[in-house]
């Protein structure tokens, strides 16, 4: 028997203001936070939580910086990464004031390659992430909403994507989808990385379909489609956004690897992977800068995105307390 039922519900009188949640009763506190969350606006609250995550803010700052570099960098940097100067230096020049990241075998400026490469690398990561998000949410929602054999068929397709080592497929697809094209790489990466999102969305559907608030919505006669879009999808969005940041990070790395193998972006364009493509031979000569700087650009960008993902995970999880 409950000693303290809700004061307003039973006495009918006004309740004195409820104090903050007690650590001893987290479940109750969660409910309180939920209420606060509604009144503050979900995104406002998430942003407030996100701001408290120091590394995530650093990551976001760096990521914004990278995007700005991708947009404006090529205009500012004085060298053309594709321009091969008349006199070539075997193995390239080490970093100097004129060439802060050194030059490659053909005398091309590595700093210009890194700055220009940001454009394609960030674009491939970002757009393929959006494609994966749209396809994944769509497939996951269909599977979770219809259930039954639709769900079964779609989930076996997802299982297949998980079983086939994706890099195998990407290498072949890159060869046959239209070689060297940025758009074909974006499409391939996007269409190969949605299954993880579909799985997340479907799992949210399965657990939320049985949850109390969906039951409640159904009980008062809310239409099924409305339940899907108003009640279930917004609640699944947190893990999906986090997964999308991971997809973006890993697709930037994938682009680099595929281009490094000469299966990716054609050599007349600049990406971080292309900048690394011939670096292995230079390493044998001891010319580290050629491989080091483009790789660091990838690593730091990916780390920044991972930090943002971590911050989002905490900010968007309704169970995280303020």
């Amino acid at each position: 028997m409950a000693i303290y039922p809700d004061p307003t519900a039973l006495s009918g009188g006004p309740a004195t203001t409820a104090a903050g949640p007690t650590p001893a009763d987290v479940a109750q506190a969660d409910a309180d936070v939920e209420v606060a969350l509604e009144s503050l606006g979900q995104w406002q609250l998430a942003w407030r939580r996100f701001r408290k995550h120091r590394m995530a803010m650093v990551g976001l700052g760096f990521f914004v910086f990278m995007v700005l570099v991708a947009i404006f960098g090529p205009i500012i940097v004085p060298y053309d990464p594709l321009n091969i100067p008349g006199s070539t230096i075997p193995g390239g020049m080490p970093p100097s004031l004129a060439h802060p990241f050194g030059t490659d075998n053909d005398g091309r400026d590595v700093f210009a390659m890194v700055v220009n490469g940001a454009r394609i690398s960030v674009a491939i990561g970002g757009i393929s992430m959006l494609i994966a998000g749209i396809v994944g949410v769509g497939v996951g929602a269909i599977a979770g909403y219809f259930g039954g054999w639709v769900d079964n068929v779609l989930m076996r397709v997802v299982d297949t994507f998980f079983a086939i080592p994706l890099l195998f497929v990407i290498l072949v697809a890159a060869r046959f989808f239209g070689e060297g094209q940025v758009t074909s790489l974006i499409l391939i990466f996007g269409l190969l990385s949605w299954p993880i999102i579909a799985r997340l969305v479907r799992a949210s559907f399965l657990s939320l379909r049985e949850s109390d608030f969906v039951e409640a919505a159904r009980a008062v006669g809310v239409k099924d489609a409305r339940i899907t879009f108003r009640h279930i999808l917004p609640n699944a969005i947190g893990p999906v956004i986090v997964a999308m940041t991971l997809i973006m990070a890993s697709n930037i790395v994938l682009e680099a690897f595929v281009s490094y193998l000469n299966f990716g972006i054609s050599p007349d364009q600049t990406s971080w992977g292309n900048a690394l493509a011939n670096a292995q031979s230079a390493l044998g000569l001891g010319n580290w800068w050629w491989a080091f700087f483009p790789g660091m650009a990838i690593a730091i960008t990916v780390m920044a995105i991972n930090f943002v993902g971590d911050g989002l995970r905490d900010a968007l999880d309704p169970r995280t307390r303020l």
């Binding site: 076996r156 299982d159 079983a163 086939i164 080592p165 890099l167 497929v169 290498l171 292995q280 390493l283």
Partner: protein, 368 residues
């Protein structure tokens, strides 16, 4: 438990089917179709070409029904020469040959011939298997051990210096591109310090025959120590490259699984019994954290295969990954189809094994 395993096996069947379709489509993508590829292959005699065309029901201008028949023949379910689902012995064609089944198709080990070399695809893959197994086996054992140890210790000593170091190192390594890490390792430990070899699996100057040939194994068997040492030295950099990034991600997974487990009510019960903290952690917290960790490790086996392509390419390791890379370069469709198929099926099988291991480890499933 039987029910659970049967359900898992049944779920794996459509996945295997889809994998076979993907592989088949890949093979059919060859310009002019597989039939044209056979014709262009200088390594195969016309008699062999005709045998393959007949064995796989391949026709030069296939209709839709022809394609279905080609698929079934390629799979080995359809007996192309006899034109039925039954073998020459009158039994279902998909059965193994020694049980009276047919001999054609991938179910009977017939993956076709490499366009590049003219060798049977299966033979080429098997020749590369030892190198890949050595690399992946070593990597998997070290990977699982280090990730679990680091994750468990970090969880038990939460917020300690060790925990924060593990978190920091994981963050850094988790963000590194695998192949780039390989390049940097080659530069530091191979080129600059000259500690470890950076190419291949054995030092060809010190071995009487190429790796994995019978002459090599004979010399190996006669005096294994220097050969083991040789392989070991070649293994260091590829293995580190292959596992560093995965360990970074998985130690964090293990840590959170372990933290989850440590906060369960039954761990508090165990503490209330007055048993030692070591027993609480090992018998109670870890035993339960093992379940999600096991699933995660199984899922990452596919990841390891992809990682093998990266590592084998960077380090010229003579395994299946390198073979695949060479196959893409040479547009060797039969070879690609074969590796894709075998790799994917291996992943499905490993996942099944992990599911069964899970069922054995978790009594809630064991007795259902």
């Amino acid at each position: 438990m039987t029910q659970y395993i049967v359900r898992r096996v049944i779920q794996a069947i459509p996945v295997l089917f889809l994998i076979s379709v993907v592989s088949f489509v890949l093979m059919m993508q060859a310009p002019g179709g597989p039939a044209a590829q056979f014709n262009q292959n200088p390594h195969i005699s016309p008699a062999q070409i005709n045998k393959w065309l007949a064995d796989w029901c391949l026709v030069r201008q296939p209709t839709v029904m022809d394609t279905v028949r080609e698929y079934l023949g390629w799979l080995g379910v359809w007996n192309c020469t006899g034109g039925s689902f039954l073998s020459a012995h009158g039994l279902p064609n998909f059965l193994p040959a020694f049980l009276g089944g047919g001999t054609n198709g991938i179910l009977h080990g017939d993956f076709g011939y490499s366009i590049e070399t003219g060798q049977p695809v299966l033979q080429m893959i098997l020749a590369r298997l030892p190198a890949t197994l050595i690399l992946m086996g070593t990597a998997f054992v070290l990977w699982a051990t280090i990730a679990i140890l680091a994750g468990v210790l970090a969880a038990v000593k939460r917020y300690s210096f060790f925990d924060q170091s593990v978190t920091f190192v994981s963050y850094v390594f988790y963000s590194l591109p695998t192949f780039w890490l390989g390049l940097i390792l080659i530069f530091i430990f191979g080129v600059t310090l000259r500690w470890f070899p950076v190419q291949g699996i054995v030092n060809v100057r010190n071995t009487p025959a190429p790796f994995a040939t019978s002459a090599y194994w004979a010399a190996f068997a006669a005096n294994p120590l220097p050969y083991l040492y040789d392989i070991g030295a070649h293994l260091v950099l590829p293995v580190v490259t292959l596992i560093a990034v995965s360990i970074a991600g998985d130690s964090r997974f293990v840590r959170s699984a372990m933290l989850d487990s440590l906060h369960q009510d039954y761990v508090r019960t165990a503490r209330a019994k007055g048993i030692s903290e070591r027993q609480v952690i090992v018998r109670h917290a870890f035993r339960n954290a093992m379940l999600p960790i096991l699933t995660n490790l199984a899922l990452e086996i596919a990841f390891l295969f992809s990682g093998a392509i990266v590592t084998e390419t960077v380090f010229s390791w003579p395994g299946m990954g390198r073979l695949y890379y060479d196959g893409v370069n040479a547009r060797d469709y039969f070879l690609l189809m074969g590796i894709l198929l075998i790799g994917s099926v291996l992943v499905v099988v490993m996942n099944l094994v992990a599911d069964i291991a899970y069922a054995i480890a978790d009594p809630r499933i064991r007795y259902d």
